[in-house]
């Protein structure tokens, strides 16, 4: 509490000392600056962390040349990106080529504005906050398309079309799996959702069967939405070089990178808010540590999970990705809605808990059985040659 009050005090002092006409703008800027700078710093830290952790997963050191343990690597990267030549293909559509990374970054950053960082720390308190979040997230598809189309490159165009198809398909399970939380919380406002999970860890939604399933589905859809492995098909480097970013260089490329990471942070923050209790500490005793810390801690856990997944998995094929969205994610999300409904209808008690778990388990079992009976999921046995060789 004290931390949030302190921030609010500082802001009000600053705003009240400003001339009348500037106050709204100053207030908005004072809300936006800490968020943007915090996530900007986090971006730098996570690029390093990702490379370090991937290195360790692959039994390497990762970057360790710039500064002690390579901690100045992001700075070096930034300088490199800034000083690189900005190459725009001659045939490219220059204005759109220029606007695309900016639009992408804008949509990614707008999503951060509705996340509750503390009980009183919400940049914009929308009643339909989550709808806002998904609405601006939807605009990212347009930016990706602009990038791919304006580059006038086949790989870029293919990559952007794949990206759009993937984002549109996974938005459905993404939204559906978040709807179960909205049903339980009875609101579309994210700070209300966070508030409804106050108390200890046990009151987080992930502690319910539907919440767990919803969280898993949401995370998988998030991976697809932010083009992370194993759904990084739009940027599949073994097929499409770098997808829609193929023709970008220098700072614009860095902006794409930044936008991708910020989108990932935003999605992770949303996951934390929806399923992991947002800014609430896992135990009430720990409430003396301010809320933003908890939110960022949960966000980091999810980011580390993403990096871990990235270090493990091969990439799906585009059609298999769609298949997975429509044949597993969507039915599972819909069943999860039913199971949430049962949980709510049965008074949110242990009975509802059991029934919900049962429904989810049965559905998961049936779906995975069906999926693993497909011809490309077979467990094969191999024979060893007996008898004479094939004649040469």
């Amino acid at each position: 509490m004290w931390f949030e009050d302190l921030l609010i005090q500082i802001k009000s002092v600053l705003v009240l000392n400003a001339p009348e006409g500037l106050r709204p703008i100053l207030s908005a800027m004072l809300s936006a600056t800490p968020i943007l700078s915090a996530f900007g710093g986090l971006f730098a830290a996570v690029t390093l962390l990702e490379r370090k952790m991937l290195g360790r997963i692959q039994n390497r050191y990762g970057p360790n040349r710039v500064g002690p343990f390579g901690i100045f690597q992001p700075v070096a990267d930034g300088i490199k990106m800034l000083t690189k030549e900005d190459i725009v293909p001659k045939t490219a559509d220059h204005s759109i080529h220029f606007l695309a990374p900016l639009l992408l970054l804008l949509t990614a950053m707008l999503g951060l504005s509705v996340i509750p960082y503390g009980e009183k720390l919400v940049a914009i308190r929308f009643e339909a906050g989550i709808v806002f979040f998904f609405a601006v997230g939807g605009a990212a598809e347009l930016a990706v398309f602009m990038a791919g189309w304006a580059s006038r490159n086949k790989y870029a165009l293919l990559g952007s079309l794949r990206a759009i198809a993937q984002m549109v398909s996974y938005e459905i399970p993404l939204i559906l799996s978040s709807v179960c939380v909205l049903m339980a919380a009875g609101t579309l406002s994210l700070d209300e959702v966070a508030k409804s999970q106050s108390g200890s860890m046990l009151s987080w939604y992930i502690m319910t069967p539907w919440g767990l399933m919803g969280c898993v589905l949401f995370l998988i859809a998030t991976l697809a939405e932010v083009n992370r492995s194993p759904f990084d098909i739009p940027e599949a480097e073994s097929e499409l070089i770098a997808g829609h970013m193929t023709e970008y260089s220098g700072f614009k490329y860095a902006v794409f990178f930044l936008a991708e990471f910020v989108a990932m942070f935003a999605m992770c923050a949303l996951t934390a808010t929806l399923f992991l209790g947002g800014y609430h500490p896992p135990l009430p005793i720990l409430a003396f540590i301010p809320g933003p810390f908890w939110l960022f801690a949960k966000l980091m856990v999810l980011v580390l999970l993403f990096i871990w997944i990235r270090g493990t998995m091969p990439r799906l094929r585009a059609d298999q990705l769609m298949e997975f969205a429509w044949k597993f994610m969507l039915p599972m999300a819909v069943i999860n809605l039913i199971s949430t409904g049962c949980w709510i209808a049965l008074g949110r008690g242990s009975l509802g808990w059991g029934l919900s778990a049962l429904i989810n388990l049965a559905a998961y079992g049936a779906l995975s059985r069906w999926l693993s009976s497909r011809p490309n999921q077979q467990k094969r046995t191999y024979r060893f040659a007996e008898g004479p060789m094939h004649a040469a």
Binding site: D93, I96, F126, E127, A128, V131, F132, F134, A135, V136, G137, G138, A139, E141, L142, F145, M146, W149, L157, L161, I164, V168, E171, T187, L188
Partner: protein, 175 residues
């Protein structure tokens, strides 16, 4: 309030005009998207958050993308087919747009909103919206849902792959 409204309205109108007159069809779609966003801003200024966001989500996130896909999948995304002057086209087009305008103006004039000239003071609640959808307008909602489901099934049917992809190895040229 009024300056903000003027800016949004001007942007919306300008981009709408651009959407009709630009030569590059992809540019047209992008301008159309800007005007969609402008419309959403107008909704927001009318204190109707949910509708505004839904507008962005549906029109920017889905409709614009749909148009882009349609554009790219058909041939000649760049070609201009109104180079020639075709009076019949203009006549029919003008008639249709006049009729549409008449319908819109008529319905606006009849609606009770027109009496309410002052600024909107009642903040729309998402809950109210949901309740009115489920209680008051249940039948249209269900009909709409059915329509969309049919559309979805139809789309899936169209997209079903043919039983066997008819590709045969073509005769090699060099061997």
């Amino acid at each position: 309030m009024t300056t903000v409204f003027c800016i949004t309205a001007l942007t919306t109108l300008a981009s709408a005009v651009a959407a009709m007159s630009l030569r590059n069809l992809v540019h047209c779609v992008l301008c159309l998207t800007v005007s969609f966003i402008g419309m959403a801003m107008v909704y927001l200024q009318l204190s109707s958050q949910f509708v505004g966001f839904a507008q962005v989500m549906v029109y920017v996130g889905a409709v614009a993308i749909l148009m882009i896909f349609a554009l790219l999948m058909t041939r000649g995304g760049q070609e201009l087919f109104m180079r020639e002057w075709r009076p019949m086209h203009w006549l029919v087009g003008g008639l249709v747009s006049l009729a549409l305008l008449a319908v819109l103006v008529g319905s606006i004039l009849q609606s009770p909103v027109i009496q309410n000239t002052g600024p909107v003071d009642k903040v729309e609640r998402v809950k109210d919206l949901g309740q009115s959808l489920v209680y008051e307008y249940l039948l249209p909602l269900e009909a709409l849902a059915l329509l969309l489901t049919v559309a979805l099934i139809g789309a899936a049917l169209i997209a079903l792959p043919p039983k066997q992809y008819p590709i045969k190895p073509q005769p090699r040229e060099n061997s």
